[in-house]
């Protein structure tokens, strides 16, 4: 589903952020991308949905070569992916409903299906009662759920999540993980960026460990 080969990335800087990174994520897998702060996790995360261009190497996601793909094809790939951002990236003057519906509208979903689909996905993440609220009227955990709902609403086969539990307390982080587990059990491939070792221990999965720009090893947490 995701294949990364000999990836290099630097930001106008002699020291590379990512050095010859290669890995593969198979369909239906749920993997962690971990490592210390500054290891290049977020850079690699952004490369996986073509928010950045690499300086070398190849990234193929769902059959699309992101390095060579035209903007329109990248846009269509993003419509088929769900991306959860650490800072949520919700539009502040759109209601919860509008934020989630936007992903459906962009994908060209028929209007008659939008209301029902949005409500269903908000129910899955547990914020269906906040439908008409603006993001800033919600707590951090609720905003994260809305961001997850937006990522899930198009029924994506690939979900990328950058520290989706980063600023949340223990219980809410557990709930978010349960939601992602549930989505994974339905067949979605999930790549989750986290540096939270406790979380890695609690929800054991395959881990790609990045350190100083290199993919050190595949580790299975004890």
């Amino acid at each position: 589903m995701i294949r990364v080969s000999h990836l290099n990335k630097c930001y106008n800087h002699p020291d590379m952020i990512l050095k010859d990174v290669s890995f593969e994520v198979k369909k239906g897998e749920f993997v962690y991308l971990s490592g210390p702060s500054g290891a290049g996790k977020t850079t690699l995360f952004r490369l996986l949905f073509a928010d950045l261009k690499p300086d070398g190497g190849q990234i193929v996601v769902d059959g699309l070569d992101l390095v060579r793909a035209r903007p329109a094809r990248i846009a269509r790939l993003r419509q088929r992916m769900g991306v959860v951002f650490q800072d949520y990236k919700l539009i502040p003057n759109y209601t919860v409903f509008d934020n989630v519906a936007l992903a459906l509208e962009i994908a060209g979903t028929p209007r008659r299906l939008i209301q029902k689909t949005v409500w269903q996905v908000l129910k899955i993440v547990g914020v269906e009662r906040q439908l008409d609220r603006l993001p800033l009227q919600l707590s951090g955990g609720e905003q994260q759920r809305v961001a997850i709902a937006r990522a899930l609403v198009n029924d994506p086969q690939i979900i990328l999540a950058d520290e989706p539990t980063g600023n949340l307390d223990y219980e809410i982080a557990n709930e978010i993980m349960s939601i992602l587990d549930y989505i994974n059990s339905l067949g979605a491939t999930i790549v989750m960026v986290t540096h939270n070792r406790a979380l890695l221990q609690r929800f054991k999965r395959k881990v790609f460990y990045l350190d100083q720009g290199s993919l050190q090893a595949y580790v299975w947490p004890e």
Binding site: F49, D51, P71, A72, A75, R76, L77, R78, Q79, R80, M81, V83, F85, K89, L90, I91, P92, N93, Y94, L102, A103, E105, I106, A107, G108, T109, P110, R111, R150
Partner: protein, 301 residues
């Protein structure tokens, strides 16, 4: 494949959101386009009315050939034949000395009494030539007058079209100046509209970034701004035409009250349907051009 209406609906929804959530920016754009359009409309309104009135006058080109008092009948006959053969002359009338005096009395009305005290009729006989406006140009009048002046038996030639020729050349200059003026105003308007759209894009840069990240294509992001430009241009044109029409009606009514004897006031007319549509198209185009100038921003984001 999504249906057309499912693709287009969110674009209109985003356009409506953009307009509703940024009323000040929209108000500024609409005001600027309205003012520019109003200036253009008033300019062309004044020009078209002036051109219409001058054309009406032009259709009544006349030359009056005053004859010497002692002209004999043979000379008179050859002069009439000469006038008959001129292509530019549609019709001519002979006005005798007596007829000229009668006409003058009618013109003077109650003030004509003093004419009775004159020892003899001082007015000359004349030939009044009505020129064919289809054939004769304003410039031809002067040439014809010179030609007639050279004929034997002609005392003086009078024609009132010298000022008309000057008015024509003035209108020509005004017309070219008008196009320059329109081009300049349009350029300034497009630049200002582009700046306000750029300002609006800058204010919404975070929203645009989110749209990119969740899979919006460039056209999905750009089209609502194009629609916004169309909306601004169309509303501004309607407003400008509305103000211009109101102002025109008021001015015409005021002029009729001030100078009721001027029949020319009745010839003042507002635009017909075609120019109205062209102005609407121009205003809308200004909005679109403003968007196109700033759309680079959407691509660069």
């Amino acid at each position: 494949m999504a249906k057309f209406q499912d693709r287009i609906y969110p674009l209109f929804k985003l356009t409506a959101n953009n307009i509703r959530r940024h009323p000040v920016i929209n108000l500024i754009s609409i005001s600027i386009i309205s003012i520019a359009m109003l200036m253009l409309i008033l300019y062309f309104l004044a020009y078209s009315n002036a051109a219409r009135i001058v054309s009406a006058w032009r259709a009544d080109l006349r030359i009056v050939v005053y004859l010497v008092d002692d002209i004999d009948s043979g000379r008179m006959l050859s002069l009439k034949n000469y006038c008959r053969e001129l292509d530019e002359v549609m019709r001519f009338d002979y006005v005798s000395k007596e007829q000229a005096l009668e006409n003058f009395k009618v013109t003077l009305g109650d003030n004509s009494n003093f004419l009775a005290g004159l020892p003899e009729n001082p007015l000359p006989a004349s030939l009044e030539l009505l020129l064919d406006s289809e054939v004769a140009e304003v410039d031809d009048v002067e040439r014809l007058a010179r030609q007639l002046q050279r004929q034997v038996g002609v005392d003086e030639v009078a024609y009132g079209s010298r000022w008309l020729r000057q008015l024509f050349s003035l209108l020509k200059t005004v017309k070219y100046f008008g196009f320059l003026f329109a081009a300049f105003l349009s350029a300034v308007t497009v630049f200002i509209v582009a700046s306000t759209i750029r300002l609006s894009l800058y204010a919404r840069r975070e929203t645009i970034r989110v749209l990119h990240l969740v899979g919006a294509t460039r056209s999905f992001i750009a089209l609502p701004y194009l629609f916004e430009g169309v909306f601004q241009g169309a509303v501004a044109s309607f407003l400008a035409l509305g103000f211009a029409y109101g102002g025109f009606r008021y001015f015409k009514a005021w002029l009729q009250l001030q100078v009721p004897q001027w029949s020319i006031v009745l010839q003042l007319k507002f635009f017909t349907t075609l120019p109205l549509l062209l102005f609407l198209l121009l205003g809308t185009s200004l909005g679109i051009a403003g968007f196109l100038l700033s759309s680079r921003w959407v691509r660069q984001d």
